[in-house]
């Protein structure tokens, strides 16, 4: 079995985020980066399947050359090898990312392509779905549990949906996107970090993949959310009810 899994490099949400002077991107100096949380869940799921089904786990990322560090993290956690497609964030949108990953699928032919359900920076939540469409493969998004059944022919996936859990079976090969509750990602142990040094990472330029790189989505502007307004102290319950009726209009 072979599993292809994504490791997107994103700005650490604990960093102080500032909008660049162009108003169309984030200021990337002086912020920390990390592996997208949902991708970490996807990698952990891939590694659990690696243990159970003797699968090869290939960790891939699309980004600038620093994204090699997120791939290394995936390899230090236990991935077998890596693929980096070099491209700056500005020249990408969700659709182009999906079409790039489709090329990697054609090249690697994995049994399962695992992704985070979304990236915590753009929050677009569409790459897994688009990828399944482009490849005409079944998709199981927002997975909270994955079991491989019927001798590796079918993935039984539990999905968190409004009000409960939906269980679906999808034939392999398939696309699965990971939700936070799928698992508790392991740390990259120190021996893992040392071993990852010697693991192979293949590198491509986006241009090598002969894709139409016209973007379908262009960021026009970014702005910070408006600051919260100060609260108001009310003197009694009557005044509160009155304000809820006349000002907030919720009663």
């Amino acid at each position: 079995m072979k599993i292809l899994v994504t490791a997107k490099r994103v700005v650490d949400p604990d960093s102080k985020i500032q909008i660049a002077d162009t108003q169309t991107s984030i200021e990337l100096d002086d912020v920390d980066f990390r592996v997208n949380y949902f991708c970490e869940n996807a990698i952990e799921a891939a590694l659990e399947l690696q243990d159970e089904h003797d699968a090869e786990v290939v960790v891939c990322s699309i980004g600038n050359e620093d994204a090699i560090q997120t791939i290394r993290t995936g390899l230090a956690m236990g991935g077998d090898r890596g693929i980096l497609v070099e491209a700056e964030d500005e020249v990408l949108d969700g659709d182009l990312v999906a079409r790039t990953l489709a090329k990697l699928y054609e090249q690697e032919k994995p049994d399962i392509f695992l992704l985070g359900k979304q990236a915590i920076d753009g929050d677009s939540n569409q790459v897994g779905q688009l990828l399944a469409e482009y490849l005409s493969l079944p998709q199981a998004c927002f997975a909270s549990n994955i079991d491989i059944i019927e001798d590796g022919a079918v993935a039984r996936v539990e999905r968190e949906v409004d009000g409960g859990i939906e269980t679906i079976d999808v034939d392999l090969p398939c696309i699965i996107t990971a939700d936070l509750r799928l698992n508790e990602p392991r740390y990259a142990s120190l021996p893992g970090i040392m071993k990852a040094k010697r693991k192979k990472i293949e590198e491509f330029e986006l241009d090598d993949l002969e894709l139409d790189t016209t973007l379908k989505v262009v960021t026009r502007s970014m702005e910070l959310p408006a600051g919260r307004q100060a609260g108001v102290m009310v003197s009694d319950v009557d005044e509160l009810v009155n304000k809820l009726k006349s000002e907030a209009k919720v009663l």
Partner: protein, 391 residues
């Protein structure tokens, strides 16, 4: 981040991993174990799973095979959230594990290191005595050869990991003892819990800080230790001791760095947020001095520590001037930074909930343990007297 602090990509990944682990799993228990004065054994075992307990040990013996800078990084990162727990880690992984890895025979390493790297054995080291600290060659514990054994008599004091709770000894120790009449006739021995004549003396309670690391007195009464447990040649242990003191002092200095960094982060965040006289208090010169001086001193200390660790070779002695120097500078620096953090936070800084109170208590120990600052001043001045020019 500068390359000085993360000289290779592996060092950077190690720092990221330890920081994530510290923030997620170490921070949450720090206050409780400080209050209880208890050692968190379960958390210690997790360090083994991450490959941190045998960080400098060759993979052949179950270690991770990394260098002094890797050990420095781990101590800085863990100490930023829990210096007490980190001290127990240091006593095990530097004072016992690294010491044996560097000075032990392959047979001794094979017997003790694999189980020490997983945490199945908890180790420590015994040098100080009730009546001998800085004057280490004044130690009075003796080891007398008797056939295939040595008979050990004496006591060791202030031993971190000497016990793991109120009644139970730690598992295994490197103990220095006198094997001749000359002041420097010292040998070191591996002594295991359960050896006849070896017992737990006082459990040291009510410490000011570092309360999550257990401290005890070890007592030896006609304790018979197999000669195969002697580490190095008889009477030649001072070199082993000096070699290991260097990494001990650099990692203790790294613990001070962690304390200082955390205190600066806390006072910086508080001073940006807290208002007085209609503006955040970091607009006031008195507060600015606390924050800016602290950061400058921290970065000076941090640069000195990593400059020294990057040059430190674990298998050889010869960095004493700077391994004493980093601990001399950083221990007092961190104590002062913690003190300023309390001052900036005012009443909040004085109570446990805001963490700097604990860090201030922990910071003080580093001016005493692993060499008092007076011992560092003595050593450094002696070394400097032979060094007419500083290159």
């Amino acid at each position: 981040m500068s390359d000085l602090f993360n000289p290779t990509d592996e060092h950077r990944q190690l720092r990221e991993m330890v920081r994530a682990f510290a923030e997620r799993e170490v921070e949450v228990q720090a206050h409780e174990f400080d209050k209880k004065e208890a050692f968190n054994h379960a958390l210690f075992l997790k360090l083994g799973e991450l490959g941190l307990l045998g960080i400098t040990v060759h993979p052949e013996f179950g270690g991770s095979g990394m260098d002094a800078t890797a050990a420095t990084i781990v101590h800085e990162e863990l100490s930023a959230v829990d210096p007490g727990f980190t001290l127990a880690y240091l006593a095990h992984s530097m004072l016992f594990v690294n010491n044996l890895a560097v000075n032990g025979t392959p047979e001794q390493c094979a017997r003790f290191l694999p189980r020490s790297c997983t945490g199945d054995l908890i180790g420590g080291m015994g040098m100080s005595e009730p009546g001998a600290g800085t004057d280490v060659l004044g130690m009075r514990t003796t080891a007398v050869r008797d056939g295939d054994h040595y008979v050990i008599n004496g006591a060791k004091m202030w031993i971190t990991n000497g016990c793991i709770n109120d009644t139970e000894l730690g598992d295994v120790f490197l103990i220095y003892a006198r094997t001749g009449d000359h002041a420097a006739d010292l040998s070191s021995f591996i002594i295991e819990k359960g050896t006849p004549g070896f017992s737990l003396g006082q459990r040291i309670k009510d410490k000011l800080g570092m309360r999550a690391s257990p401290t005890a007195e070890l007592v030896f009464e006609d304790c018979r230790v197999p000669a195969a447990n002697r580490v190095g040649d008889e009477g030649k242990a001072t070199l082993c001791m000096m070699r290991n003191l260097e990494i001990e002092r650099v990692t203790l200095a790294a613990m001070s760095l962690g304390i200082a960094r955390r205190c600066i982060e806390i006072m910086n965040a508080y001073a940006s947020d807290r208002k007085a006289f209609g503006q955040p208090i970091n607009r006031f010169g008195q507060i600015q001095r606390h924050i800016a001086d602290s950061y400058g001193e921290f970065m000076a200390g941090r640069s000195y520590v990593y400059h020294t660790s990057n040059a430190l070779r674990l298998e050889s002695a010869g960095n004493r001037l700077d391994s004493d120097g980093v601990k001399l500078y950083c221990s007092t620096m961190a104590k002062n930074v913690a003190d300023r953090a309390i001052q900036v936070l005012g009443g909040y800084g004085y109570v446990g909930e805001y963490t700097v109170e604990r860090l201030w208590r922990d910071a003080k120990l580093l001016e005493i343990g692993g060499g008092t600052i007076e011992a560092h001043q003595k050593n450094m001045t002696r070394d400097l007297s032979r060094l007419p020019r500083i290159l």
